[in-house]
Amino acid sequence: MQDMAIHPVDWLVILPVVLPLLGAALLLMLREAKEAQYWMALGTVAVLLLGDIALATRIAEQGPVSMTMGNWLPPFGISFTADLVGAVFALAAAGVTLLVLVYLRLDMPDRARRDGVYPLVLLLLAGVSGSFLTGDLFNLYVWFEVMLIASLGLMVLGGRNSQLDATVKYGFLNFFATTIFLLSLGLTYGTLGTLNMADIVAKAPAADPAVMASIAALLLLAFGMKAAAFPVNAWLPASYHAPPAAVSALMAGLLTKVGVYALLRAMTMLLPASREVLEPVLVVVALGTLILGPLGAIAETNLRRALGFLVIGGIGATVTGIALNNEAGLAGAATYVLHAMLTITGLYLVAGLIEAMTGETDTRRMGGLYAAASLPSVLFFVLMLAVAGVPPFLGFWPKLLLVEGGIAGWAPNWDGWALALWVGVLVNALLTLIAGSRLWGHIFWRAGHESAENEAPNPDLRRLDRRATWLGLAPTAVLTLAVFLLGVWPEPLLGFGKQAAAGLLQSADYVAATGVAGGEP
């Protein structure tokens, strides 16, 4: 047993998991009271958001904090260790979930509400926060599964045929990915005798590099699948467009980012030596994802499937940061994840409004929305520019950091890989801009349906009623405002990126916070 005085403030580390779990449990018990369920879910996430803010400020001031469950010694007990990356990601996840919850009130079919969408959202949030904050690899696996089961439930709610189809593909492939993750956990335990992240940092350098490299390769496959990186990305555009828009916004905003976070943690912090070995693979994965994502978006006619491809393009940008592995590159990856959480969620929410107004999912039959609804078109325009990385919006800064990282990696010894990544990021930005502006042009700017000779005004447009306008546009507008404000005032973002990168590259603080470095147990 451990003699570490625990103050109530230390509970902030565990709060982001305990609170939504208890909230979900309570909501499950109140199955019949739908109204109460909604407000309670909203309240839980709001309190959670405050807790996350407190946690993030505490960590920004004092460095990583840790708590080991059940009063066991750290390498044996399950540690929750929050450093700046994890805490800020958890904060962003809670914020996004809160906004999506507001939108959910508008968007869900009754049947889904009856089947309990709110407990599932809280469960999903618990899984996401748990993944960001845990300091134990096996525990990370457990949170992955919590997330997976909650997202499967959310995806299939409503039970339309296309949803069943999408969920089958999503479920099988993601379950496969987590099982591969479990396999690499078994190998890690067999090699190092520990699964505590801080302990792995300490013990990995002494292990056989070949074994560690194969473990890292398995982790790369598992997390890459979770993040939908090329070439294991096919499940994402096959599934994310099927559920209602709010659900797909939540999943696109949060789930793939957890995969990226796990990749960041595993490759950069836990197994840096093996990352070196895998660097060519990472570069190819990054380049493929960077290019394939926006190309898919250009070729796609289904609006939300096109957005799914844009999500993949963003994953490419974050993998680029991991492949570069210098300070600017990692700062770019960390800030990109943050940017993608806000921007992609916003885009999916606008897409939901567009689908509600046009009654279509096919961009060729949308047309003419600008005249009917100018505010959504402005929001979509801003978010689309942000995804492409056009200043003065949020997306510009992560891409700038990545470009800087590319140059920094290339300059000292003419490293061709870094140069290729540098070009890849720029090409990705250009292609994304093309894809986004085409979408905007087709949906908003063109007068009516495609190939109508005269491009007569679209007769099928429906105006949103007042309620839909408020509930639907308000969360999107808040997200867009955040994207804009963080774009014109990027200091906090850049500061976070710098600190996050430093924390990932020098893990001494993280290890010290967990308390395993104190000697042999």
Partner: protein
């Protein structure tokens, strides 16, 4: 003993991958179960086998007897089995529903979310 079990895990994984490459949902599901079992065997071996003393602390002692088996992999496997079991139950229900609604057990025929003859991208702009 370790080598034999490792070999067995390999056989499990091989069969699992073979089943997963099938187009039939039920075969894929069985493949996932086999994969999970193979992975559990890997975890079991990772704690080293061949010891005969169960990891139970004797009456009055504070630590298990010398040479006791490693209890941690067993705890990990237990968790993994429970999770895998829950996922299996969910996916089984899902596959069954999909079979009822889509009338397809063959993944090639499940093209509702991704229509086969997707339209070409718009040529204007």
């Amino acid at each position: 003993m370790d080598h034999l079990v490792a070999l067995l895990a390999g056989i499990f994984l091989t069969a699992a991958i073979y089943l997963l490459l099938s187009r039939s949902l039920i075969r894929m599901l069985l493949g996932l179960v086999l994969l999970g079992n193979g992975v559990n065997l890997v975890i079991l071996v990772s704690g080293r086998l061949g010891r005969i003393v169960p990891p139970i602390v004797p009456e009055g002692a504070k630590v298990p007897m010398a040479g006791a088996a490693n209890p941690l992999p067993q705890a990990l496997i237990l968790t993994a089995i429970v999770i895998g079991f829950a996922m299996f139950a969910f996916l089984l229900v899902l596959a069954y529903r999909a079979y009822q609604s889509l009338d397809a057990d063959d993944t090639d025929k499940m093209r509702v979310a991704e229509p086969r003859n997707a339209p070409k991208p718009p040529m204007s702009y």
